[in-house]
Each structure stands twice: as C-alpha cells, then as structure tokens.
C-alpha cells in the first residue's frame, strides 16, 4: 500500500483476523445444514403455494368432468341420443340397399330360405319397431 497511508499499513501489518469481528462457536461449521433445512422448507412451502393457486382450477375441472360423466351415462340423455343415431343409420342402410337392388331382387333375397340366417343375425332395435304391426311389415315386404 501507498506510503502516505502509514496507519492503515500498520493495522494491516498487525494481521488481526477479520478486523476484530468474530462469530458464535460452531456457527460457520453448522451453516450448510441450517441453510439446506431452510431451502427444503422453502421448497415445500412453494409446492403448497402452487397447489393453493391451482386448487380452484382443479376443482372446476373436476366439476366439469363429473358433469360430462353424468351426461354421457344417464339413461335419459343416452336413450334419446341412441335412438336418434339408430334411425339415422337405418335410413342410410335402406337408401344404400334401394340404390343397389330393385324390389324383385330384394323380395327374392328375403324369401330365399338360404338367407334366413342373415336376417336372424340382424339386431333390430326394438324401439324402431314400436307401433309397427305384422300387417304393416307384410305389406312392406310383398308390395
């Protein structure tokens, strides 16, 4: 150091450690463990804070999920929806058949004994046949 700083040089030469300051016994030795405990506690409280922030959103998501499950599983909603879907699908099938076969070919198909097994395997939704009598069906099949 510069010669003009005689006193400062003298103090430095005395080589007193840490300018007269000291620490409680074992303070520095135990500091890592204390600090890691603080950090772990901080991490846990951060995780709790995140849960607290997300909680309302998670609750809302859970409510919507329950509503969706109830909607798709309750018979009231399911029956009307399924019947509507079944009618649409039958209409499409009949349209396709009528475009590929004429009436005589269809009648031959139905009356042919070899085709009985085909018609037995068709699962017809009973809801579709509601209100239709055997006479109606006979009329439809013969003419």
């Amino acid at each position: 150091m510069n010669e003009e700083f005689k006193i400062l040089n003298h103090i430095k030469d005395q080589n007193k450690s840490n300018a007269g300051f000291n620490v409680p016994d074992g303070y520095l030795e135990s500091f890592e463990d204390k600090m890691m405990d603080i950090i772990n506690a901080e991490e846990q409280s951060l995780a709790k804070k995140i849960v607290l922030v997300l909680k309302p959103w998670l609750s809302m998501a859970a409510i919507f999920t329950v509503i969706a499950i109830v909607y798709y599983n309750t018979p009231y909603f399911k029956t009307s929806q399924t019947v509507a879907d079944a009618s649409i699908s039958n209409e499409i099938t009949l349209d396709l058949l009528s475009s590929d076969f004429d009436e005589l070919e269809l009648m031959d198909m139905i009356t042919d004994e070899n085709n009985t097994s085909i018609f037995e395997n068709i699962n017809t939704d009973p809801a579709l046949l509601e209100g239709i009598t055997y006479e109606d069906i006979e009329g439809l099949v013969i003419f």
Partner: protein
C-alpha cells in the same frame, strides 16, 4: 467426491441436474459461506444481521441459480447478490431509525463495543468508525480491497464499475480513513 474436486463451472452444470442439485448447492455453500459472511459482516456490522443477510443471499442464489449464464465468474455473481442483500437490509434499517451524523457516530461505537461478537482493540474500533463515515459504495470498495484483497478487475465485475473509477474511489477512501485515524488516535493518546 469432495467439494474440492469440482470447479465452479462443474458445480453450475451439476446444479442443473435435478438429482444432484442439492449436493451441488451444499458444496457451493461450504465453499463460499465464509468469504460471503465476512464480506456481509463488514457491511452490516452485527452478527445477527449478517446471519440474516447470508441466509437471504443463499436463498436468492438457490432460486436464481438456473438463470446464472456464466458470463462472469461465479464468485463475483455471488458477491454481487450478497452486496445487494446487505445494502437492502441497511436501507430498511435506516428507514426505521434515523440519527443525526453525530448521533450515528456515537451509536455506531456503542453498537461495536456492546457487540458480543466484536473483540477489536481501540485501533480496530477507530478503524471501523472511520470506515463508517464513508459513503456506502466507497465503504464497500474499501472493504473489498483492503480486507479481502480482491483485484480491481474482480471488484469491477462485482460492483459493475470501471477499474479507473474504483482506483480513484479507493484512494479517496483510504485518504479519508487515514486522516480520521490520525486525528482520533492522536486525540485519544
């Protein structure tokens, strides 16, 4: 492996790996706690305050370690955080208690003498009182150069100030302290 086997750059890489994060940080604490403690202690003076600031410093380091880009040396980044934390505490304290300059001088001496963790002699007390008369930034520059014997280039990175301005500032501070000590030690003897 012991902490001695990792370089600072390796510690930074190790910290990014989740499974080694805690271990890397523990090594970092053990490597820098003492240097940072004495740096902080000379700014805030009391042990309790230094302990609080050191804890806050390491907590900030833990929270922001991922953002350390390695543009400067790790220890200068750590010193910068420690310095900022220490100055934040001083600001808070100054807001809560306000003294006139004379009162502050005598309060400071009382605080030193009554501190159970200060056992300096008369010359050390006068030196601390002299340092306390300096403006905050000059005081930090003086401490880093005089006590911790850091190079001007290192201090420049910590305080983000040019080397030229640091040299001038240190010289000015040393001159003021020398004059203070000359007056006060002569008066007492």
């Amino acid at each position: 492996m012991t902490s001695r086997e990792y370089t600072d750059a390796e510690l930074v890489e190790l910290f990014k790996d989740k499974s080694h994060k805690q271990m890397a940080f523990k090594i970092l604490i053990s490597r820098y706690k003492e240097r940072l403690y004495w740096h902080i202690r000379k700014i805030v003076i009391s042990h309790d305050d230094a302990d609080d600031v050191l804890q806050n410093t390491f907590l900030k380091i833990w929270q922001n370690f991922d953002s350390f880009q390695g543009k400067s040396a790790l220890y200068t980044w750590l010193y910068r955080i420690a310095t900022n934390e220490a100055l934040t505490l001083l600001k808070k304290k100054r807001k809560s208690v306000q003294f006139s300059i004379d009162e502050e001088d005598s309060q400071y001496e009382k605080q030193l003498v009554n501190d159970p963790y200060f056992d300096g002699d008369e010359i050390q007390i006068q030196l601390q009182k002299a340092i306390n008369t300096l403006p905050e930034k000059q005081r930090i520059i003086f401490n880093l150069k005089y006590f911790e014997e850091l190079k001007y280039e290192e201090i420049s990175e910590i305080l983000e100030t040019t080397v030229g301005s640091l040299k001038a500032s240190y010289h000015h501070a040393a001159k003021k302290i020398e004059a203070y000590l000359k007056n006060n030690l002569v008066e007492k003897s």
